[in-house]
């Protein structure tokens, strides 16, 4: 038996399928609209006051009906409050399982303010549509989820509807969490309900005008939320299936690594083709990743589990907290994620060698210095302590610059961001690189990046680098 919400979502998905199958020879909606415009222009001359009054009446009926329809589609009932279950009512094994699953979901990253209490929310989440503040998901009854039943929690995670029936913004990645199974949700619920309750109300969201009207989200969900259960693929290994279940669901990798459309929905058919997050590029995780040929299960595992791989580079930007979270996840699940991502990068199943075996450790210092004499001095004074060949960092097993994917990529964005923002791993654990935005001008940063690319890679120079640095610096300041 379908729940109310599931039935509605099905209606939504049928609507989408229908729209997708529309016969191209029949008039499309745009053509119909155009024809109606012509008609109204023809009628325009004959309009009288009476016509106007009738028109206004029809229009207001249409508006009321439209709002009514929106309300009907968007309506979700409140789920009754419960008394907070005592922490001892949850099985310890279930709580431990939930802790691991919440780590996959990285709940703590968005639901913890800088230096705030864990899971107490109020972290600002910048989006193209304004700033959202994450909710408190500690079991505080007034400001958190202490009065939420498992059913209310599950509906929020899978359908993006809060206990009181209001729609939640898709910053909560329910497009992905909808695939999480009942047992896992019960475990995460047990984990969250046994955390320390913290009384903290999130600040009001600051959204573009109109977007604060939550029933609109019902329409968004009709378009973009596909509530489907995870389906095992019998011809793949148990490890691969586990990886796919985690990647598509809790880990919500597509949230950043899949491109989004103008309405903020993930683009259908372009899963893992690469996206953007917080001013950084999220590289493609499919065969279009420019370095797919030198990623393999072992390097993906090392990168995800430790935040860096010898043949690639350190996780930076929004990927840093992801790797930090995965460092606390059991090896088997991290490896399963690596196995699945590897299969997406290599759909024909070819085995790939490690980058260390393939990429030559380029170092053309004299050529680079001849082209960028000032940058050679800058590099010597500012970078060589860590990044010169033979510097302690390399001896400690950290990647050489000649292996850094960001330095070899076609788009300089992540390399620019690394210099402007540095790499600051959460909690101060892991590779730390200071920011150079306050000591170097756009021209100096561009010169330094051009030098590093010429010295440590065999790739062509990035065009318009100084302007790109200036633009990204401006973006960061906004």
């Amino acid at each position: 038996m379908l729940s109310f919400g599931q039935a509605k979502a099905l209606r939504g998905s049928r609507f989408i399928q229908k729209a997708g199958r529309r016969d191209k020879t029949r008039p499309g909606p745009m053509r119909e609209i155009k024809r109606n415009v012509y008609k109204s222009e023809a009628l325009h001359m004959k309009l009288s006051k009476r016509h106007l009054a009738i028109g206004a009446a029809f229009a207001s009926v249409a508006v009321v009906a439209g709002l009514g329809l929106a309300a009907w589609i968007g309506y979700e009932p409140a789920i009754p409050e419960i008394a907070r279950p005592s922490a001892s009512s949850f099985d310890r094994g279930l709580v431990a399982k939930g802790e691991q699953l919440a780590t996959v979901g990285d709940c703590i990253v968005c639901h913890t303010a800088p230096n705030g209490a864990p899971f107490a929310g109020a972290r600002a989440l910048p989006t193209p549509f304004g700033t959202l503040f994450s909710n408190n998901i500690t079991p505080d009854e007034k400001t958190g989820i202490g009065s939420w039943s498992l059913a209310a929690f599950s509906r929020a995670i899978r359908q993006g509807v809060a206990r009181d029936g209001s729609h939640l913004y898709p910053a909560l990645p329910y497009e992905h969490f909808t695939h999480v199974n009942d047992d896992d949700l019960a475990a995460i619920y047990a984990f969250l309900m046994t955390r320390q309750p913290v009384s903290q109300q999130a600040p009001e969201n600051q959204l573009l005008p109109g977007l604060g009207f939550r029933p609109l989200l019902a329409g968004w969900k009709l378009l973009f939320l596909r509530q489907t259960q995870f389906e095992r693929q019998a011809n793949e290994s148990a490890e691969w299936n586990r990886g796919k279940y985690l990647v598509d669901g809790l880990a919500h990798c597509g949230g950043c690594h899949t491109p989004r459309n103008l309405a903020g929905g993930e683009e259908r058919g372009r899963e893992f083709a690469g996206g953007a997050a917080e001013g950084w590029n999220a590289p493609a995780l499919d065969e279009t990743n420019p370095f797919a040929a030198i990623w393999n299960v072992d390097s993906l595992f090392a990168y995800l589990k430790t935040g860096s791989d010898r043949g690639h580079s350190a996780a930076g930007g929004p990927m840093a907290p992801v790797a930090e979270g995965l460092s606390r996840l059991n090896d088997a699940d991290v490896r399963a994620i690596a196995v699945y991502v590897d299969s997406r990068m290599h759909p024909s199943g070819e085995a790939t060698p490690s980058a260390v075996a393939v990429v030559a450790a380029n170092d053309s210092r004299s050529t680079a210095a001849a082209a960028h004499p000032e940058a050679d001095l800058l590099f010597e004074g500012a970078c060589s302590g860590c990044h010169a060949p033979g510097a302690p960092m390399n001896i400690n097993g950290r990647p050489l610059l000649s292996f850094a994917s960001d330095l070899r990529a076609d788009d300089p964005r992540n390399a620019v961001q690394t210099l402007l923002q540095g790499i600051a791993p959460p909690g101060g654990k892991g590779a730390y690189m200071p920011s150079f935005s306050d000591t170097m001008t756009d021209r100096q940063l561009a010169d330094l990046l051009a030098y590093a690319r010429a010295r440590f890679t065999d790739k062509p120079a990035w065009p318009n680098l100084e302007a790109v640095v200036g633009d990204i610096r401006k973006e960061n300041a906004e």
């Binding site: 230096n115 000032e374 004074g381 500012a382 302590g385 730390y432 200071p434």
Partner: protein, 162 residues
Amino acid sequence: MTISINVNGEGHEAEADPDTPLLYVLRDELELNGAKYGCGLGQCGACTVHVDGKPIFSCLTPIGLLAGRKVRTIEGLGTVEKPNVIQKAFQDEQAAQCGYCIAGMIMRAQALLDRNPSPTEAEIRVHMQPNLCRCGTHARILRAVHRASRELSLASVAGGSQ
């Protein structure tokens, strides 16, 4: 070669190559020994000074970058006889144990309080994060920054009423 730099409002001619880190010039050429050499890799903050009002790691800042820019070190704040508000607050809270990190800590705190005299606890913690103290006097350092903040806020209120 000779490079001109402006430190604490005075012009200096330093005999050094442009790739020389500012820290070495400050200590070896100008005998301004407040900023300390800690790690030399921008990981500890003992060498923190200001360039154009922003806290930076002087060990990773080649002086070739500093033409036309203003450097400020702890010697530019107060004197032993007349410490400035933040230096006094660090003394009053006895924030130093071995003291090696303190010049860097004060310079980083100064940059924050110059910009925002009344930061929140969270803002102070985030801002001070790059600077390490191996003795473990972090709680006293935080108290010192709070104390300086209170005194600066009081001073600005008093100044405003005159």
